[in-house]
């Protein structure tokens, strides 16, 4: 029978594998013109590092013990960045506004309360970002102003305005399924790193008795 530290290492390696799958899937964008492979930019990278810090600080991810734990955190950070690349609006005014709001508002919300609430807040944030990127922007994109090359030049002006607002690229429905799979894998990886079941220690000061925490200990 394996000793607890080894079990923790197994979970860490499993989480790293799952985070890798999440990162790979989140970067694949299926468009009508072909497949694009995205890598995160500086905005997503910095945001991912901050998110990793909060997840470790709040004990959503177990405190790393030894290199397998740090390996899982490294792959988790990469998955964070790719998932943010998937969810954040495309470059433009909309993205700037969203990032400003997140930078000034969300960190306050994410660094208080029990860790179960942090996970729920992250899920709500992901939902809102997905709504903005995959519903609001495409709908407005199709309806704001005439199409390029039409209306005696007005269409080109409208296209420029649209590009300034958000450099949107249409995606296929199957591409959005890949995004869902990436998010599901991220959640599974986080579940594996969830502390409190004996194999992974909780971070100091994060022990609590919430419903999700009791469930986590059963796995």
């Amino acid at each position: 029978m394996a000793s607890p530290p080894v079990t923790g290492a197994r979970r860490a390696v499993g989480a790293a594998l799952i985070f890798l799958g999440s990162a790979v899937l989140a970067g694949v964008l299926l468009t009508p013109d072909g497949v694009r492979y995205r890598t995160p930019g500086l905005v997503e990278g910095v945001f991912a590092l901050l998110l990793t810090y909060v997840l470790l600080l709040r004990g959503v991810w177990a405190r790393p013990l030894g290199w397998p734990g740090w390996l899982a955190v490294a792959y988790g950070t990469a998955a964070n960045a790719q998932v943010l690349e998937l969810l954040l609006p495309p470059p433009g005014v909309v993205e700037w506004v969203v990032v400003f709001v997140l930078a000034f508002v969300s960190w306050g919300a994410l660094t208080s309360g029990p860790r179960t609430r942090l996970v729920a807040s992250l899920a709500s944030l992901a939902l809102l970002l997905a709504l903005l990127r995959y519903s609001v922007i495409p709908v407005l994109w199709a309806r704001i102003g005439p199409a390029p090359g039409t209306a005696f030049g007005l269409g080109d002006a409208a296209e420029s305005l649209r590009r300034v607002l958000a450099d949107h690229e249409p995606t296929l429905p199957s591409g959005q399924l890949l995004g869902i799979a990436a998010l599901a894998l991220w959640a599974l990886g986080t579940r594996l790193l969830w502390p409190g079941d004996g194999s992974l220690p909780p971070a100091p000061g994060t022990e609590e008795r919430g419903g999700l925490d009791r469930g986590a200990g059963a796995v």
Partner: protein
């Protein structure tokens, strides 16, 4: 944590090996940016057996088909790029042939790809009579077709190459002369 005990655990060791392999695969996937599962498959086959004639031929066929599809979709620049990659694969296959029959098959596929690419270049470089043709592109296409003509190919391929070369030479004639017969 005891580092040696961790590494001795077969699940951890196996998982780490799998992680390294999959990380390498992911890096290759993003670097190659394949556009279809067929391309991923042919890439993987060539990566596993880079010196195998059959794998290179299959890869060249797949790239040729992909280029044809891209050209049909209207993206000439990308189609030319993919045709070039297909030609290189077919030429590599020809170099890996183990007997004259395989060499002939490799040459034949390479010639077909070069002729397809040259035909696309001819179409892209040709303009209506009141505008200039893209003569450097036409000369490039002609050089490629002439390269095919110096290699041994089937009579059908050779005939196609001669027809295409005559068409390009005709296009290269100045102004309205291209409407007059060459002979």
């Amino acid at each position: 944590m005891n580092e040696r005990a961790v590494l001795r655990d077969p699940w951890v060791g196996g998982g780490l090996a799998l992680l390294a392999l999959l990380t390498f695969g992911a890096a290759m996937l993003y670097r190659g940016a394949p556009q279809s599962f067929a391309e991923v498959r042919s890439d993987a086959r060539v990566a596993v057996r880079p010196a195998a004639f059959e794998q290179r031929m299959a890869r060249a066929e797949e790239r040729k088909q992909a280029a044809s599809d891209i050209a049909s979709a209207g993206d000439t620049v990308e189609a030319l790029r993919v045709y070039a990659a297909a030609g290189e694969e077919a030429w590599s296959a020809r170099g890996l042939a183990r007997d004259p029959a395989e060499a002939a098959a490799g040459t034949e596929l390479w010639a077909e790809i070069v002729l397809d690419r040259s035909a696309l270049m001819l179409a892209a470089a040709s303009s209506p009579w009141w505008r200039r043709d893209d003569d450097p592109a036409l000369r490039d296409a002609l050089a490629r077709v002439e390269d095919v003509l110096v290699h041994p190919t089937s009579p059908a391929t050779r005939g196609r190459a001669e027809t295409l070369a005559a068409e390009i030479r005709n296009k290269l004639r100045p102004g309205p002369l291209e409407w007059l017969p060459l002979r």
